[in-house]
Point group: C2
Chain length 406, copies 2
Amino acid sequence: MKHIAIFGFGIVGGGLPDVIESCREGIKNLIDDEINVKYILDLRDFPDSPYGDRVVHDIKPIIEDPEIEVVAETMGGAHPAFEFSVAAMEHGISVVTSNKEVVATYGDKLLETARKNGVNYLFEASVGGGIPCLRPFATSLSQEKIVSVSGILNGTTNFILSKMKFEGREFADVLAEAQALGYAERDPSADVDGIDAMRKIMILTALSTGKLVDKADVYAETIRNITPADIDAAARMGASIKLIGTYKACEDGISVYVCPQIVGASNALSAVNDVYNAISVTCDITGDVMFYGRGAGRYPTAGAVLADIVAILSGAADAEKQHVFEKAEGSVVPFGKVPFNYYIRVRCDSCADTCETLTHLFDSVKKLEGSPEGVCEYVCGKMGLDELNSIRESIGNVESVIRILE
Amino acid sequence: MKHIAIFGFGIVGGGLPDVIESCREGIKNLIDDEINVKYILDLRDFPDSPYGDRVVHDIKPIIEDPEIEVVAETMGGAHPAFEFSVAAMEHGISVVTSNKEVVATYGDKLLETARKNGVNYLFEASVGGGIPCLRPFATSLSQEKIVSVSGILNGTTNFILSKMKFEGREFADVLAEAQALGYAERDPSADVDGIDAMRKIMILTALSTGKLVDKADVYAETIRNITPADIDAAARMGASIKLIGTYKACEDGISVYVCPQIVGASNALSAVNDVYNAISVTCDITGDVMFYGRGAGRYPTAGAVLADIVAILSGAADAEKQHVFEKAEGSVVPFGKVPFNYYIRVRCDSCADTCETLTHLFDSVKKLEGSPEGVCEYVCGKMGLDELNSIRESIGNVESVIRILE
């Protein structure tokens, strides 16, 4: 019998015992043993849960119990998840987590603690829910150079943008529906302002480069300003608007950012709709590979937590690549300098003038066909945000600006 | 220094030394050692290759060399790849392969030989080229039940069907282009008649169920009969025609087949175009996950071969799920009994009569809008092939019939 503990009995942690139960046979085949949830650490009691008798309110008896081999940290938030994980590892207990905030913030220290104590720290469930998208960085793709990653990393915003597209609705209206369905929180900012996606692209960047960048260096743009007029313009371009998290190796360092982008139909990301996530990874040998699936949900995410537990108990994790994250200040190219092609919509009476102004400013300006009455639309490139902002002033009346994914 | 040998110095095997060279640093990080290609087994000599001095024409010195730890079998074809792989494993050498034919035909015996001799037999590169789609069956998804797999498993046919769609061209015309580009062989039947996809779905079925089915039990249908009129009808349904390989657990056993299917836009497979492959896996806990990328190509495939070599040398393969394939006669449901919804195009002067006949035959009949002059089109369901064939006779004048993916 292998004993584990769960820290935080919420959505994911609460689903883990069920998943362990339904995978009993598969687990037995892999580790030739059973997994027992010996403790559940939570501030609350759960008298109605069949696991209620395992609930404790103090970490001490857990980490001092020599039978505990793995802790599943499913608390969320940076604190006290960080301190609790460190304490467990310092007592020789491996930790797996679904907590993107703690990995994105303290991944360097957590991996170092694991290394020093000869234990594992795994976090497959922190990105893409049940999609097995992180382990390839430690296995199949581990000997390659990862050139770039771009992904639809947040299911809530993808649900909202998909509904806006297919049902022609406003952002606020769909957000209210997402909240009613439980896809979005009452305070939706972590999702809609790109914070959740930012944490995930920080983790993917660290897996790709070994560099854990500072969140202050990662540009994140909200989808709150996306309108039906934007969605419609993208549709006329044969494209969709998606919230894309990006890491890219470039000449002067790396660029890491999250923003809504117009994604053409030839890019597989454009067809990823509803709550689905997709992570596209470009490697120097294998080229592009993409991982796709539901990026959230109690059981898929708990399943990914279990896969990490099994990888530790079977010894597989020890044989895989041991990630080292280093804090990397100053390695992210300022977002203002990252060049994009832009969609620009201008409210104008004198379209010809605007068009002439733009033509003077850019090498490449293309007027979009089929614009609604009273606006002109252009595809212009390439420029950074700094340049765009100065142009914005000089042409005036700019109604919308959206980056175009290449 | 870790010594390996390559069996077959063709497209993939010929690319392997280059890939090992470019991944030298990544390999070092993972196994703390270097990989040396000590022998290359081929009937030909390669005097112009920098690896020409390692070429031998006899297997004996290789398998009797105690320094050789892994053989990369990249010969293709069932024989003598099977005998050579067995001989290597019986000498305590692990084998990795990109050879789908030998795995689909003798996977049971090869895995058994590996088990008996305490070595590994891995075949990531046999399906999906460089896409890391098989290892999750041994790692992240290994404790789950795999309910179904459906995939675009052959890049050549996907290239042809994509070109037919986007350029409105005939099958024969695009096939000729694919041959000129080197995407299709002079005898294209292994690709266009679904044989290659059949081997791959047999491997995926075995990974999902442990059952290596007989190829005689797997229905495979050619794409040669797909016409621009079919592609156009699918487009009017908001869909694409794709060659889909399918495994499904069903009440009476499993169904395994390869055939062209109409794939609606809401299915992510519909947006997989050109030479790209995609493998969609439905698991009982994680739900749907999809793996996507280039399904062929020298370096991506050689990269997957290398990933397997590294998994063996690092010990990871030993800690992962050890697959057991068993020959499983009689477990595949006869294809004639597998129910589908069908697109049916009928050449008719008296459309009303046909429509009435169909309405009598099915619970569900929907007439398609926008049919070209002289034909009527219907979406009917559900029925098996046997039933369809008898209906075909009774209505007569059937011009085309294509299954619809649910």
